[in-house]
Amino acid sequence: MSAFDKLTTARSNNRLTSIDYINALFSDSFFELHGDRRFGDDKAVVGGIGMLRDDMPVTVIGLEKGRDTKERMERNFGSAHPEGYRKALRLMKQAEKFHRPVLCFVDTSGAFCGIGAEERGQGQAIAENLMEMMTLKTPILSILIGEGGSGGALGLAVANEVWMLENAVYSVISPEGCASILWKDSSKTAYAAECLRITAQDLFKLKVVERVIREPKSVESKMFDSLRGLIASTFDRYNDMSIDKLLDQRYNRFRVMGNNVTPLEPVVEDSNTAQT
């Protein structure tokens, strides 16, 4: 599959969303918590507490695009406002207080660009999450399940480990935006998608993600049992670390990024990168 095919798959309306993952992993134990205690409740962010294992309550937060047209409208297609990021941070602080690990699902084309979002400090809200997540004294695991759109995705992805579904993408800018700015040519979107290295496989090579996960095809899938086990054992491992070690690991994970890889082979512009 080309990067452009993966981009299309990652954005597909048929794809499982954060709520599907939460339901499948936590079933009836999930209790949703609303609001940022400052402005309102942003439905683009879903958060709450669930039992990952009988002995493991977890704070779970997801960017939610919505599963049908009506819900997608209500949830602003997964593009959060500042209050969404502030709700997420409130729940993370609560997790820290009660020594619960934090599990984040990322699926957004980006933080919302609008008047209200700017007036209420979209940049400040994301900046605060990056800073506070770096020293949150409990393990954090973020999983990119669909689209990881720039700062809006990173606002929930400063973690001890970041995993990606095999057809998820993660990018600093949309390939469309990149093609139009750099080449003033929207027909180069597929080429931009290759050049930007947005696929899980490329990001694994760049050491930006620790694990690429095979995709469950439906909520009934047996895949969820293995995913649940994998998440729980990862939290066990990080729970065994001292807090200092846990935070050093998270800091150093980002500290070395870009300095610990050799340059990639150039992308050849050919039929594989041509848009279909």
Partner: protein, 293 residues
Amino acid sequence: MFNNDLFTFLKPKNELEQSQGEAPVSSPEIPDTMWVKCPKCRALILTADLESNHKVCAKCGHHMRLSPRERISLLSDDQSFEEFDKDMVSSNILSFPDYDLKLQSARHKSGENESVVTGRCLIGGINTVLGVMDPGFMMASMGTVTGEKITRAFEYATEHSLPVVMCTASGGARMQEGILSLMQMAKTSGAVKRHSDAGLLYITVLTDPTTGGVTASFAMEGDIILSEPNALIGFAGPRVIEQTIRQKLPKDFQTAEFVEQKGFIDAVVPRKELKAAVAKLLKMHSTAAQREG
């Protein structure tokens, strides 16, 4: 007096539209070397007068963009600036098309090796780590080396118990570095947090334009956030917002004054008062060890 078509002032573009490497849009237009035309009020100003007024139009108060060296000389005490990591240059990790050429041309045009200059200096006699971003270098987009230099500056300040002053500017991400550009937001924020947890002061000075990933990381993480008048400050650029919501934006939206009124900036400080303001704040937080001598 002038043909408007020839001297049309280009409105600042935003993170998603800014074609990188373009000349800074509010740099003075120069009819000849003696005179400069203010891009805002179009008054003709003697170059010498403009320089002595720190590139602020005496007529309308418009603040033109400064180069990092001009900014450093504005803020630091005479000859006190010692630069860090001067020779650090970006490499093309993604093998992104034409990136090497763009870097070369940015280095040539700006005279700098990357989009940020960092170092230590005295400001009002206080030992301070100073960082200045350069809109003349690929619109001060954040590449891996930009993030690395800023992170090292904060780590140095933490290790030596020094305050940090960061003068921010940015058109947004360095697209040619893909995800690694995005990761610099987390990396720098981590270094800011460690500096903050050590009880040290961090002052940000927002300059025109501060947008995108820089706004969503270290620009908004200062203990005290100052801005130059009328600077464009935002997360998304104005045109991206207009395209998203299909509405015209109110006048003065995303100006420093607007952002201050919304509660996200401590003070808008005119350039001629900037050094005194920064020095005053540094002094109020300083320890004996940070003072000269």
